[in-house]
Symmetry: C2
Subunit: 353 residues, 2 copies
DNA sequence: TTGTACGCGTTATCAA
DNA sequence: TTGATAACGCGTACAA
């Protein structure tokens, strides 16, 4: 600060230059300043700097909530990547409420963040409120729960591929009547998981039967109820692909209540790699969502947009490749009785960015 | 901004007063300004305001990491409470590393936060680096992993009480040889859980036997190894109180591998209310840590310090009351054979703030 | 009730 | 290579 300038009999300009590693500064002077700064343990005021430069080192995050396995892990990835790049993160929760989401955006706007990372609330149907960011030129990246289209920056798991891999695995285990416990179809993630399920069935020449699909909100009880409903069909399923682990757990518990063996009588696969999938008996087959990678990819993309400052940046959509984790709940005792059907066009994974 | 002032032919001062609800402002004028502000959707610049007033609306959080059940839930509570009070939160991870923790503090200092909430890293042995905050008059509250002493603000779970309740419950179930899987004793939480365990034994007139305590890092495998070690004793335990759920899970799995029935042959209780405790078979008895309440209490305390601005504030230590969740893993078929010993002095819960 | 003038800490611009 | 000056957006004495 001014103290340093006085003590060294130079101007504040010189101090500023020394500290910010400006090119026009003598190495000798620079060392002197830095040394004295240490001694007084000078702490730069990011606010003043941001105010002057119009650029802060803050990123905003808006998530529906910070709980469960997914969002905390993504936030973990975001914070790690941001911190590495010299940014701090401000975190906001929308509590699955659009109105709150709107307030979050205003709040971040006021905090002068350099960019925003968003995962949409469940009740967000239109996204006019994000135009406010656009009009201020604030870089924006959606992750996981995204706005669809090619004029936005997004980072998602390739959920279709996840559903595809999972269902294909069940087919390879010899299952021929595979049911699906689906989630709310207005969310891209559940829509795509269902699509992957159908893609795998079609590829294997199995019927795409809507009566084998039960729509739920992915709750544990709904998984149980869903399976009950499916078992009452003329041809009950010999496998279930659930779009979420809680739902899969509910189904598995219900199966055992009904005296069925898992995976022998009915194989089960979930989605999300919740920690309890390794605790349940039998361990539940699931799909890992690469939470941390998603956070890091989102930050990487956001920083690219920020650093492209002005230079027209064409929006990018990144899809991460999911990982199928095969566990006991879907592993038939006499495995691979049926060879894996060979891939055809429809099975190609989407481009991975 | 200036635009509004020009449009209304008044000074910026007037605008400022209208927006900040100053007392000396005409209601008519105030309405006009607010209306125009909406129209232009004016967004206050918190940085400029903070710079001018020397007070920001930002709180800093430093946690070891954002994963698992505990920290995300506390952060959830913190963000909720802070947001309600008009604050935003900046979150930092120390990754269990003191050096990183130090950098986090510098970072928050530079961001001009109004106060800091900290849960210490595992490798933090001294805490001189927090003096830097003190010397700048920055309010500081520790939570969960705290500095001990009465000259700091802390919010913790009453871990001693948790250990006590858990052990007392096992005794009431008729168990007489109760072992303890303990955690690193330099962390207050594990030290206190162990203390509660001993308190309950003493109260019931049972021997306090160090050979029944195995020290671990609370990992699942260590729980299994710990139980193996205990079962090799001349008088093997008929119950185990583990200071963490992962450890309890490992012990339970090991018990079943050895052909023992849980809880009949050995009863098991854990700590933390991890979500898998409800998935494991049998469900695991555990202690809920009131994560969200902890976050909210920490924010409440921090805001008190902030608002006491200058007025000498005497540090406070808050302890939250834990909740014992009794599940099948510790519930003997013929329960309450032994009456609960009556409480004596040592069993009194500590004051709850 | 309103306006004027200045300063918070930093940096960009221009001149030396 | 360095210095003087103004400005970022807002809030607050003080005067009107």
């Amino acid at each position: 600060m001014a103290d340093l300038a006085r003590e060294l009999n130079v101007s504040m300009t010189t101090i500023s230059r020394a500290l910010s590693d400006h090119f026009s500064i003598g190495p000798a002077m620079k060392q002197k300043v830095l040394k004295l700064a240490k001694k007084y343990n000078y702490q730069p005021n990011h606010m003043a700097s941001a105010l002057r430069k119009g650029k802060s080192k803050l990123l905003g995050i808006v998530v529906p909530y910070i709980e469960g396995r997914f969002f905390p892990s993504v936030v973990h990835g975001i914070e790690t990547a941001a911190s590495k790049a010299g940014y701090n993160v401000i975190i906001c929760q929308s509590n699955e409420d659009v109105a709150q989401e709107r307030r979050n955006l205003d709040s971040l706007l006021s905090a002068q963040v350099a960019g925003v990372l968003v995962s949409l609330s469940r009740t967000t149907l239109d996204h006019k409120h994000f135009d406010k960011l656009r009009s201020r030129g604030l870089p924006l990246v959606y992750f996981d729960r995204v706005v669809e289209g090619d004029n936005v920056n997004t980072v998602v798991l390739d959920d279709r591929e996840g559903g595809y891999l999972s269902t294909r695995h069940l087919i390879a285990q010899g299952c021929r009547h595979i049911a699906h416990l689906a989630g709310p179809q207005h969310l891209n993630i559940y829509k795509n998981r269902r699509q992957g399920y159908f893609d795998a069935l079609r590829e294997a020449g199995l019927p795409e039967d809507e009566s084998m699909v039960v729509y739920t909100d992915m709750l544990q009880e709904q998984g149980a109820a869903g399976l009950r409903q499916l078992l009452a069909l003329p041809t009950p399923p010999d496998a279930v692909f659930a779009a979420g682990d809680f739902c899969a757990l509910g189904a598995m518990q219900e199966a055992r209540r009904q005296g069925l063996r898992v995976p022998d009588d009915v194989a089960i696969a979930g989605f999300s790699n919740e920690s309890f999938t390794l605790v349940a008996e039998p361990n539940i087959t699931t799909v890992d969502q690469r939470c941390e990678e998603m956070g890091q990819a989102a930050v990487r993309l956001l920083l690219e947009v920020i650093n492209s400052a002005g230079a027209a940046f064409s929006p990018r959509q990144v899809a991460l490749r999911p990982e199928l984790l095969v566990r006991a709940s879907s592993l038939r005792p006499a495995p691979a009785a049926t060879p894996v059907p060979k891939k055809v066009a429809v099975s190609r994974p989407k481009a991975v960015g």
